[in-house]
């Protein structure tokens, strides 16, 4: 596996510490060779400076979601990002944030067209905001390639399986039993088999036009209250990542 690594790093805002973005990003593929028509995983692995963090798909009250713009040959289909379960940060002033410390990998599944063979270049323009007491925006333009041929040759298996384990499973596939009850803009989610109150973790990502008003946890139940942003149309559904002890389910909640 050839890693071209950070091809270039651009500093968006001319902040003072241009030599250090407090996080670095590498582009990885879970194969060196992909069998024709077979899907594979691409991932951007972030190494984050101690005490700094980058952000989840919903950064919370402040911050900025990490983003990846993929470029792939024509006809390649790329999934939405697979986000590992984040951590929760609380700052003075009741400012709640969600993100990652240490390291994190954001992944996506790529499916080449059935008739494609040969070298496939893969590009990723990655943007993040690294924060500690100050915030520093980061950007990296990464490239690598994968061969689409007759057989499949795996690579980076340990890294991918380590991070895939941390991605919450869709409710249907998850070992967790979550019952969902809606009442207007409020949802009650009850997880079977979670005994202790302190253990239930809940991360909410609202759709455009909606804010999370409150998340309350009681025993194995979480109540998530949403509020429409006045004058904004609601687009899409909310996502809730719920669980404990490394087992989380991803629940999609319609709000329209």
């Amino acid at each position: 596996m050839r890693i071209l690594g950070l091809v270039f790093l651009v500093f968006l805002c001319g902040a003072a510490v241009a030599e250090n973005q407090h996080a670095s990003a590498r582009l990885l593929v879970d194969r060196t060779t992909v069998a024709a028509g077979e899907s594979f995983l691409v991932g951007v692995l972030f190494e984050i400076d101690p005490e700094w963090h980058i952000y989840w798909k919903n950064p919370g009250d402040a911050g900025m979601a990490t983003s990846i713009k993929w470029s792939l040959p024509d006809g390649f289909v790329v999934s939405e990002l697979l986000w590992p379960v984040p951590k929760r940060f609380m700052q003075e002033g009741d400012i709640e944030g969600f993100g990652y410390e240490g390291s994190a990998m954001l992944m996506a599944r790529v499916t080449p067209p059935a008739d494609f063979t040969g070298q496939a270049p893969i590009g990723a323009v990655v943007r993040w905001l690294a924060c500690k007491s100050i915030c520093v925006p980061g950007r990296a333009s990464l490239t690598t390639e994968v061969r689409v041929g007759s057989s499949s040759v795996p690579a980076n298996q340990e890294t991918f399986s380590q991070w895939l384990r941390r991605v919450p499973m869709d409710l249907g596939q998850s070992p967790l039993q979550v019952s969902v009850r809606r009442s207007g803009m409020s949802y009650e989610l009850t997880v079977a088999g979670v005994p202790k109150e302190a253990d239930l973790e809940v991360f909410v990502s609202p759709p455009e036009g909606v804010a999370v008003r409150r998340v309350q946890r009681k025993g194995n139940t979480a109540v998530v209250e949403f509020a429409r942003l006045a004058g904004s149309p609601v687009r899409g559904s909310a996502e809730v990542v719920i669980g404990n002890k490394g087992t989380h389910a991803r629940v999609v909640l319609p709000l329209e």
Binding site: L12, C13, G14, A15, P59, D61, A62, G63, M64, A65, S67, Q91, E92, G93, I95, G97, R127, L129, C131, S133, I134, C135, V136, P137, A211, L229, A230, G231, S232
Partner: protein
């Protein structure tokens, strides 16, 4: 008589307390504040009664704020509405912000509006300011009519951004009500004490 005095003190004390704690809420009267700007001049919300007041939470150390100042987002909007009874006030609730640094920032960008110092974070907390920038618009009646982001472009790369504050101020200037009264603010977290 003593009992009456005590009761009165309790009432005064209590109303003082509730006044201080009143939280900004969309569609309701915006909480009063009194702050000193980086040049030493006092400002209160009540002194601008009858005008439209824009509050912009600012922290020049924040890259989102830096980007908007390089792009002149705030200065352009403030100038566009300066003859339409709009008072633009930047508020810095960063615990360690120094007035002399804010004065330098005002000079560096040739700002026509002041930066109000809120080191205690009391006004920021009262308004629920979470990010820099975080924007608020208070109408001529003193009612909070907008709160949220400056625009719909956190990463600063949209070709056609909607500036929510400009949109709301335009609607107010036209005598219309604000169509989008709320959006998700984005930026750095306010660095409260």
């Amino acid at each position: 008589m003593l009992r009456y005095l005590v009761a009165m003190l309790v009432v005064v004390g209590f109303s003082g307390f509730s006044f201080a704690q009143a939280q900004a809420e969309l569609g309701k009267k915006a909480p009063e504040f009194r702050l000193t700007d980086s040049a030493g001049k006092q400002h209160s919300l009540s002194e601008y009664q009858g005008k439209i007041v824009v509050l912009e939470w600012i922290n020049p150390e924040c890259p989102f704020v830096q980007r908007h100042y390089k792009e002149k987002t705030m200065a352009t909007a403030a100038k566009q509405f300066s003859d339409k009874d709009v008072i633009w006030l930047a508020v810095n609730s960063t615990s360690h912000a120094k007035p002399e640094d804010m004065t330098k920032w005002v000079e560096q960008y040739g700002l026509q509006y002041p930066i109000l110092m809120d080191n205690s974070g009391d006004v920021g907390r009262k308004y629920g300011a979470k990010t820099t920038p975080h924007m608020y618009i208070i109408d001529r009646q003193g009612v909070l009519v907008y709160q949220g982001g400056i625009d719909d472009d956190p990463s600063g790369d949209k070709p056609n951004r909607t500036n929510y504050v400009v949109k709301a101020l335009t609607e107010i200037a036209n005598g219309d009500s604000v169509s989008q009264a709320q959006s998700k603010p984005y930026g750095c977290s306010v660095k409260y004490k």
